[in-house]
Symmetry: none
Subunit: 248 residues, 2 copies
DNA sequence: ATTAAACACGCAATTAAACGCAAAATAAGT
DNA sequence: ACTTATTTTGCGTTTAATTGCGTGTTTAAT
């Protein structure tokens, strides 16, 4: 088996399971441990995965779990400040969850007058500090992992609203594969959020760029704004310079 | 399981719960106590948590779940422990918001298997720690004062469910006037919650007894359980000794 | 003071990683 | 096609990391 095939296979396993054991890969690909180790090392050098003792982890896995030590907070504040330029008085806005969105909420102007729909209790609680903001928490099953509401009931309610702007945190963004995710239910949810909104902005710290996960949410052409902490001219963003997408 | 996964899992527990017991982690991650201790030590060295005898504490106490300032906490814990005796495996339960209810949630047995509907995001977040509990957050307008969802949408959804038990925190309870409140919308809400549930338990610290507010929610005969921090024989409860009301 | 739980320390067993080297495979040039 | 240069791989060995257990000590609660 060619090295490149092995690497692809390893990346597939990682995207599929968020983690992989060296020993499993040895069996799966029937090569020696040394080879796997060398492969993992190489992929780690290319920033495609996170190497740990005993195996490797998905790079995006990192932040899906640690949601407290607010990872890359500086970057998220920069993103937040860019994002609020999209928000005008009187708008109806739909948001997902995640630390990036919460950072954004904290940066909102004191006297903003707007209506927010959200699937995240944390976002709702944070928004409650703004006297002129109307907050509607969309109810449904509560996801223990993502800490947002999800499921059919949420989807139904989303189909009844038509916000001006949808603000979405991301697990992964890729120039070709667009927005992807790992969880089926959250995937459905994000799809619906995107579809019901007039415009969509994706908030994405740069390390989540060029990553592609198992489940496809939407092609990049369905997104109108991409917001990262990088300057708009940064070469990392070159692959995203397409006409339908405005980079902030 | 990889060490980093363990660490993330531990941090997640801490961020959600603000505290964690070594023994719980041993069970949760099925490794020896030594391993957990070494993990905690490592995380403590990295300033990610405070290590204490028996477990560890969150380093950042800033969360909205800071319960160190909860008023009359001791009393509320007593109430909580009484309340959970009403909860059996398999039940469908509806809860309101408030610190008393949150204290109760924190006291629930680790392996409770039940379905909870709630109008409080805080309660939902806290319930999310219980692996076998299904949490449904009832969505709607989010009240800045009471930090619960309210309004027509909530009322509608309540009318579609029929929980076995409704757990209600109280603003005021009076032998003649029953359950009363000050806010019109919250009042409507509590009425509906009471009506849709098969039985209702009122959680009430003793200092809120014998108080009557402007708006009537329900007569005392509509309530099945009264839970206070007092012993059931306390003279303060004499006025509430009626046949339809069980005092815990 | 007594007792049980929690802890720290060292040890040994297991497992993973790193290193050097030679065989095998691949690519390149004649 | 044949040889040479380069890369890749597997093996043996060494080194490091991780874990669980036994033992004795500390801590907290009664």
């Amino acid at each position: 088996m060619l090295k490149k095939e092995r690497h692809d296979s390893i990346m597939r396993q990682i995207n599929l399971h968020n983690r992989v054991l060296t020993s499993d890969l040895v069996q799966l690909l029937s090569v020696s441990e040394d080879t796997i180790r060398r492969d993992l090392q190489e992929l780690a050098e290319r920033d495609q995965l996170y190497k740990v003792h005993g195996g490797a982890l998905s790079k995006s896995y990192q932040s899906s779990f640690d949601d407290s030590t607010v990872y890359a907070k500086e970057a998220k504040i920069i993103i937040a400040k860019k994002a609020i330029t999209l928000i005008k008085d009187g708008m109806v806005i739909l948001t997902g969850g995640g630390t990036t969105i919460i950072e954004m909420v904290k940066q909102l102007p004191e006297n903003l007058h707007a209506t927010f729909f959200t699937i995240s209790p944390f976002v709702a609680i944070e928004l409650a500090n703004y006297p002129r903001v109307e907050v509607i928490l969309i109810g449904g099953l509560f996801s223990k992992n993502s800490q947002v509401t999800y499921g059919g009931h949420v989807i139904n309610q989303l189909s009844e609203i038509s916000p001006d702007l949808c603000l979405l945190g991301t697990s992964a963004l890729h120039p070709n594969d667009g927005l992807t995710d790992t969880d089926w239910e959250i995937n459905q949810l994000k799809k619906t959020m995107l579809n019901c909104s007039k415009k969509t902005a994706v908030l994405c710290i740069s390390e989540k760029l060029n990553i592609s996960l198992r489940l496809k949410v939407a092609p990049i052409t369905n997104i109108q704004y991409l917001i990262t902490e990088l300057p708009t001219t940064d070469p990392q963003l070159d692959d995203y310079q397409i006409k339908s997408l405005q980079i902030l």
